[in-house]
Amino acid sequence: MNAPVQKMPVDLERQRAVCAALRAFMPAQNVLFEREDVTPYECDGLSAYRQVPMVVALPENEEQVCAILEACHQMRVPVTARGAGTGLSGGALPLGNGVLLSLAKLMSIISIDPASRSARVQPGVRNVSISEAAAAYGLYYAPDPSSQIACSIGGNVAENSGGVHCLKYGLTVHNILKIRVATIEGEIIELGGGGLDSAGYDLLALMTGSEGLLGVVTEITVKLLPRPECAQVVLAAFDDVARAGQAVANVIAAGIIPAGMEMMDQPATLAVEPFVNAGYPTDAAGILLCESDGTREEVAEEIARIEQIMADSGAHLVRVSQDESERLRFWAGRKAAFPAVGRLSPDYYCMDGTIPRKRLAEVLRGITEMEKKYDLRCANVFHAGDGNLHPLILYDANDASQLQRAEDFGAEILKLCIDVGGTITGEHGVGVEKIDSMCVQFRSVELEAFHALKHAFDEHGLLNPGKAVPTLQRCAEFGRMHVHAGQEKFPELPRF
């Protein structure tokens, strides 16, 4: 997050050569290089990092995607694929000497097959559009990242996006059947199939969440699910976040997998309530939203049990949504958490660690300590069902010292997530943002395995270089010498 804006001068000769090569098979207006044309692509949702790309290519079909990759492969030009640019980890940050490959023009829903409950879509299709198109058949696409009105399905595949319903309905990897992928050589391969598995290695799973480092997805066949007959949500307030955490465990222990289970701490509810009037009690240390969906009978039975569990777990207030509008209002607060927090502070930095749920109270205590240490405020929203924590660190980017403190704060939270047995990213991806934290989560042997796999797909390292997987060299330099269990992480590397 240290805004490492590369100010690399553009190699004009190379830029001309790349544009000429691409314009040989694409309309000139779809190959951009003028400063004012390429500047809109300088960052994605992680706007602290910016870099103007050398060239932007806007293919209109799969053949053009393949031809661009083939040309870049031949000329050894690095390529960064971009969907809607909503990613929060800088996965689509361009390279100053590279081509930014926008899939935005590939935005058609090719077909919907209600009988087999699947839809074939192009990568630039917005996540929510699939559910909208499938609604006529009583079907929907389950993964619903909070950016779903804007984010593209191709980006979802690249990041293995989740959403508030993934404990019950899974992540992107669980909800896609087949993808067409263009390799860096410009060849098309199909992974997955019409059935529920395919022959050979599960490259569909490997490709999902690979952050554009292994190939470029040109078409996706997603699984559609029947819309649940109904849904209801329980709002429960606690005067202690540890107790709220225990309530979550009690729901799971009772054999219930809620459709959604979200927690917000007091700083988050205080930010949200004046903004959306969701009806959250702002005197509570933390609130839980617990949703049940399914048939009417199922929901009635489950909601009654959840209500009882919340009361037994020490909630001082338990409310059940009485109708659809109240259910949506309860959710509106949670969904508005990021923008609401954004109103409290010029900037905020959203973290994405996942932890074993039982360590929640300890992690929140740790974060409270860090607030003092870094003299910055932090609000927490939490996909409580699956342990995915989103601390929102408030800072002012115009103050360089705050930016630095926010970054250090974030890195320390991620370190804590790893220490309690979790991970540095649950759904936002590593991108450029968390690349140094990868050195803490993995040892050099695993990073080497990742590089070997990358090499299997992209021998010359042209697909989205510098993202997702750090080089061993970088880890050694980042070092700050993370010594784990008395062992140096990269003993084989020279130190600088």
């Binding site: 409950r117 899974g170 669980h174 019409g194 029947p226 649940p228 219930i256 048939t295 991970t423 649950g426």
Partner: protein, 356 residues
């Protein structure tokens, strides 16, 4: 026990140096599956035991040699289960073998597959390097998903040491209905129902009968049963277990005299297959078991017609490719992936494809 990974790693390193193939061996319950193993046996059953199981975290971590039956018995005590209902052929099977084979049972179409429930793996690659991928949390997108890549790779990418899986609660109520239908009608019904919010967890069509398992809240199961109709099956647990473990009459008799058993994984709406032999359908139409002496070409063609693939699951002529041939570009990529994980090509070579 704690030395087992070290000893296994040494065996792998020695084999890699000598380019000597290793045949990874668990309980042997799926020895029939895939091409015959060649090379020196590498027994992994000694590495066993449950490392951690926390019902409220919905996660279990076990060493690869732990018997599936032991894991399922422990989970049952806590009111939980493995959501993908893995087969235990011959009542055997280890959790490592289960994940290496990547096979799922009757619940697959409704709850997810073996790879869907994998959260993390510890494995030894073809150099004997001890690697950990994924973790013990539900959501984790740090690094490539090697855990799911290795699931179903039949030991050709690494020797699994530990497995972390997401678990599910046992449903409070379960009921199986039986209706009489032709295959075409059963296919139509299974696909229609799957598009409706019904608490369905398994389907099977065999011998003119359609079996549907409903599970969930008591009231929901009762209401769905009333809507769908049909006879309630007594001894349903035994029926689904026998189906899962291929003890159902359709699979009975595995002698050389029997017709080869094919497994076709297809788009669920694929029309009734017109191949000679008998069929049993699962997974709402997406899985077709076929006992047939039809020629390999026509079976593979039928699978392609359903946008899927055909596996020679048991029996058949020696020399027949067990797994569906891959397009050239895809096979090239497979070889490179194999090369990345097992450069000396010593882990279960040829079990899946001759070149892997």
């Amino acid at each position: 026990m704690s030395d087992t990974p070290k000893l296994l790693a040494e065996s792998i390193r020695a084999a890699a140096d000598a380019r000597r193939p290793l045949a990874i061996r668990g309980s042997g319950s799926k020895a029939f599956y895939g091409h015959a193993l060649q090379g020196e046996a590498l027994d992994v059953t000694g590495h066993r035991g449950i490392i951690s199981y926390e019902p409220t975290e919905l996660v279990i971590t076990a060493r690869a040699g732990t018997p599936l039956a032991e894991i399922e018995a422990l989970m049952r005590e806590q009111g939980q289960m493995l959501g993908f209902e893995p087969p235990q052929f011959g009542g055997g099977g280890t959790i490592g073998g289960c994940i290496a084979a990547g096979l799922s049972g009757p619940r697959r179409a409704y709850a997810g597959s073996a790879r869907d429930f994998v959260l993390g793996l510890r494995l030894l690659d073809g150099r004997g390097t001890d690697l950990s991928f994924g973790g013990q949390v539900m959501k984790n997108v740090a690094g490539y998903d090697v855990s799911r890549l290795a699931t179903g790779s039949l030991g050709t990418l690494g020797v699994i040491l530990e497995v972390s899986l997401k678990v599910l609660p046992l449903p409070p109520a379960e009921l199986t209905l039986v209706q009489e239908h032709s295959q075409a009608e059963a296919l139509r019904l299974m696909n229609t129902w799957a598009g409706k919010p019904l608490p369905m967890t398994a389907t099977c069509h065999a011998d003119g009968k359609l079996y549907l398992r409903l599970a969930g809240a008591q009231a929901a199961v009762k209401a769905a049963a009333a809507t769908l109709g049909g006879e309630t099956l007594a001894g349903a647990d035994v029926f689904w277990r026998d189906l899962r473990d291929q003890r159902h009459a359709f699979f009975a008799g595995d002698s050389a005299n029997n017709l080869p058993l094919w497994r076709l994984s297809l788009r669920s709406t694929t029309a009734e297959l017109t191949l000679p032999g008998t069929q049993l359908i699962e997974w709402g139409g997406a899985l077709r078991w076929l006992r047939s002496d039809a020629d390999v070409m026509s079976i593979r063609k039928a699978a392609r017609g359903g946008e899927g693939h055909a596996t020679l699951f048991r029996g058949g002529k020696p020399g027949t490719a067990v797994f569906h041939p891959l397009p050239a570009a895809l096979m090239k990529l497979h070889k490179r992936v194999k090369q990345a994980m097992d450069p000396a090509g010593i882990l279960n070579p040829g079990r899946m494809y001759p070149d892997l």
